[in-house]
């Protein structure tokens, strides 16, 4: 479908919707500006989408499913939750907020907000007016534009200055087995005031193997000296498409610690961007991806060192099997005033098959002169000397290879400080590696 027809299709799909906060002029204005920026989806002619073809997404007419009633209970979602984690919980199914599966109103946090965006838009729109739709730029790409044109629902966390969340916040985005051709567009907004602090988990998973599109945008606003630990785990159906953008605005001395796990989806694209708008900020971007079959995973990150004395540290590892393909593109921009920047960026890949392919490009652009920056990328295969060493001790060839593969990527699992979540991620990773069961039995 050409861009004009596609635009028409989504225009009418959106027009038929009663969107939350429809009476808010500022919101309608931002939505329509975003839709105006929607000129279809990016093509491989766009430099940032050079290696990621989204023609398959363009071909399907994905549908919004407002008001669809979904009969799920606690038992159905149990397996997607982090075991043993006491948390505030928000659950979305097929893009719809599920109050019955989320924390009850009586269990709401004291002093801060953990709610669906739609609720916040109807009850306290002034709390998000200055931020919603102002951090992520809809004109960045068609997906961000389409998400911003809807901005209907998603997770909203608002911590006033000085507020430290007493429990982590766990957000579940699920798609049901019959959810073919759905587009779910979570719009998340996390606002931490000065000195506020929280830990947020975003989990994207499928309850079946349907073909659908998740198109998420997460905006994060961190006040002075605020801290956010952000964990995202994507294990969606192997037939689905996952496109997401996380855009962070960091005030002085704030800390953003991010850990991204991308394992599922036929095509996954993650944009992860942070801007240091004050001195002394810190941003850690850790992550891992495992792909197999014909999967495609694209990690694009950009850290803007606008102000001096900030530190960013990015490390991603990937394991690619089958005919899968991954893209890593990390940009670090050190602006002219950003003296004493400390930036490092690394991407390491392990190719398990001859037909797997990686395009990795860590990039540094430095316009300040007194900075410490390092970057690097590696692509390799299993070390045959190590394979032989393990086999010479009696491990069979397959076991030796899986042990070495897990050892490679396991480093990124071990970097997760929270044991309960580390366990979850380890399980997901092992489930996707050849011989994972054997390794699990060893541990």
């Amino acid at each position: 479908m050409n861009a004009v027809a596609l635009t028409e299709y989504y225009r009418s799909a959106l027009a038929g919707r009663e969107l939350p906060g429809a009476g808010l002029a500022w919101l309608s204005d931002r939505r329509s500006k975003a839709f105006a920026a929607f000129q279809g989806f990016p093509t491989t002619r766009d430099e940032d989408w050079k290696y990621t073809k989204v023609a398959a997404i363009e071909k399907r007419l994905f549908q919004f499913v407002p008001g669809m009633c979904i009969g799920l209970d606690e038992d159905d979602i149990e397996q997607y939750l982090i075991p043993g984690l006491d948390s505030y919980r928000l659950v979305f199914v097929n893009g719809q907020y599920m109050p019955m599966l989320s924390s009850k109103r009586s269990e709401q946090p004291q002093g801060f907000t953990v709610a669906s965006l739609s609720l916040v838009l109807s009850e306290q729109p002034e709390a998000v007016e200055s931020v919603l739709g102002t951090i992520a730029d809809p004109s960045d790409n068609g997906f961000a534009a389409l998400n911003s044109a809807e901005m209907a629902d998603g997770a909203c966390v608002i911590l006033p200055a000085g507020q430290v969340a007493d429990k982590p916040i766990q957000i579940l985005y699920l798609t049901t087995a019959g959810g073919d051709d759905i587009v779910a567009q979570p719009r998340n907004l996390f606002i931490a005031g000065d000195n506020a602090q929280a830990t947020i988990f975003e989990t994207y998973a499928s309850m079946g193997d349907s073909t659908y599109l998740t198109n998420a945008v997460t905006e994060v606003s961190l006040g002075a000296n605020a801290g956010l630990n952000h964990y995202k785990c994507q294990t969606e159906s192997g037939k689905s498409y996952h496109v997401s953008m996380t855009q962070v605005d960091q005030a002085r001395d704030s800390r953003f610690n991010s850990h991204l796990v991308s394992l599922g989806a036929m095509l996954a694209r993650h944009d992860l961007n942070s801007v240091f708008n004050g001195e002394g900020g810190e941003c850690v971007l850790d992550g891992l991806y495992v792909t197999d079959g014909r999967q495609h995973c694209d990690i694009h990150s950009r850290v803007d060192h606008v102000q001096p004395h900030c530190r960013s540290d990015e490390k991603f590892k990937g394991v690619l099997g089958g005919r899968s393909r991954a893209v890593f593109n990390g940009k670090v921009y050190v602006h002219v005033d950003a003296q004493k920047t400390d930036a490092s960026q690394h991407n390491a890949n392990l190719l398990l098959s001859k037909d797997a392919e990686i395009d990795t490009k860590p990039q540094l652009e430095i316009y300040a002169d007194d900075v410490k920056c390092a970057h690097g990328a590696t692509v390799g295969q299993l070390d045959e000397t190590a394979v032989f060493y393990l086999r010479s001790r009696g491990l069979d060839n397959e076991a030796a290879r899986s042990l070495l593969t897990y050892a490679f990527v396991g480093e990124m699992v071990d970097r997760i400080p929270l044991a309960e979540y580390q366990q979850v991620v380890r399980g997901h990773v092992l489930a996707r590696l050849p011989g994972g069961d054997m390794i699990r039995a060893l541990m």
């Binding site: 190590a386 032989f388 393990l390 010479s392 009696g394 060839n397």
Partner: protein
Amino acid sequence: MLQVKDLKVSIDGKEILKGISLDVKPGEVHAIMGPNGSGKSTLSHVLTGREGYDVTSGSVSYLGKDLLDMEPEERAREGIFLAFQYPVEIPGVNNMYFLKAAVNARRVHQGMEELDALDFMDSLKEKMALLKMDDSFLKRGVNEGFSGGEKKRNEILQMAMLEPKLALLDETDSGLDIDALQICSDGVNSLRNKERGFVVITHYQRLLDYIVPDFVHVLADGRIVKSGGKDLALELEEKGYGWIEGIDAA
């Protein structure tokens, strides 16, 4: 238990072993000495099944089976163990998990039950004490960041845990100070018995003061040029390899 007959091996078309014959019987300790590049490690790699070597002629039989026909892991499970000259560092593979996997792979193959976690730990702790290794080692990656001496001790520990029938030690003594050498040799000697065979490859006669061999072979340029009893090592120490090669030429 091990019969090597006229073994010829090439790497990339270059002949490295030029007809080796060796007969190791249960309980015997054979020492193989020889100058740098004479083919000692090549022999140990071919016996353990490493890829990249072409056996152009000869045969190796181990406990009545054709050894060269077996995969490396099969040889290991049948009781062959090689202490590497250069043990491999494997970051991220936990030492203890690795040892447990290795021990149980062999046990299952030999029709024994897998060791449970407690029995495994008991056995491991006992052997670690013998080799004076501290507990922190268990949590580390295989040989990851180990000193030269620690790596060699780790090889001996693996050997002690795997209880091989035939152990090949490739320069386990190289780079060890006298205390570490004593510890490693004690470890080896504690495993000596009537059934177990050893092939000890070394540069230095010094090791043979601690691990006293029954036979000494001199390997030079891919051939065993002289064999004898333990006194041969002393003679070599005194007169150098030139002496052998001199005799050979005469």
